[in-house]
Symmetry: C2
Subunit: 185 residues, 2 copies
Amino acid sequence: MPHDHVHLTLPAWIADEIGTETVYPDDLSKMALAVRLSSRNVRETSGGPFGAALFTDTGRLLGVGVNRVVSQNCSLAHAEMLAFATAQQAMNRFRLNQNGERIVLATSSQPCAMCYGASFWAGIDAVLIGARADDVQSLAGFDEGPLPADWIGEWQKRGINVRRDILREDACAVLKAYGESGLVY
Amino acid sequence: MPHDHVHLTLPAWIADEIGTETVYPDDLSKMALAVRLSSRNVRETSGGPFGAALFTDTGRLLGVGVNRVVSQNCSLAHAEMLAFATAQQAMNRFRLNQNGERIVLATSSQPCAMCYGASFWAGIDAVLIGARADDVQSLAGFDEGPLPADWIGEWQKRGINVRRDILREDACAVLKAYGESGLVY
């Protein structure tokens, strides 16, 4: 009989990194949290150089994620996926915006093909992106997978707005530190 | 503090449905299990009309999944995703084929944009598909999301072979039963 459940956990340091900040009013503060999570994940060797966070439009934090693929033996455990799933289970809803509230995802790097696809079902209204896919490939060596040619347009068609290059240099510095470490974790 | 973990479970009837069969030697027997899982999931109202299973090339069953989005409050909980994650955690590896064994995914319907993206990181070598994306949309009303124009070619470029329309009529009958029920579960 195969396994009948999946259990994924965030690192123990998450609460410490979030601290007591409770409101993230603008795009920069939202992205700053995502990048800080990616950086701490590398420093703690608890996963790859990626962090993500979900907020209401007014800036209330709903959920966070970091890459946990190696430590949790699970290729699904990307930062965005863990942010989606932890927020959904915390709020008891499989679409985060199903009550009409606008939901914003901030992610330290452009979502890969899986996280991009997942974003259509998670119930989000806006995506803030730090580093670009090219940065992820060139600095940290990760394949981002195949996307539709007009991937930004496909988001917009479904009411999901996108803003790129927010704190891109900070996000790239984390990718670079991971790439230069030569480690895989 | 947001939730720090995700827990996803398969329905309690899974072991009963799998029964004592231990080897699935060919494409038809692999797909027959995926379709049976999709059908039972609808009959038990434990999730949407989708089932998936993972096998070694020689036909040993490694993991199964069914749609659990509504019951688990999680948009990630598609059949293919649960099959990937349960098999990976059972085998303690984040890429199923990392020891060189060929791995086959059988899925009752064409993977959506999320599951398609996830298939590149799961460590699989072949995909068997029952119903087509058009069937999923027209019979059960689900959006499959945007894919690259040459989605089959993108799989092949990365060494993932595809065979479609296996037991397509059986898979469509399950989609149709779900669609006609008028329920969402």
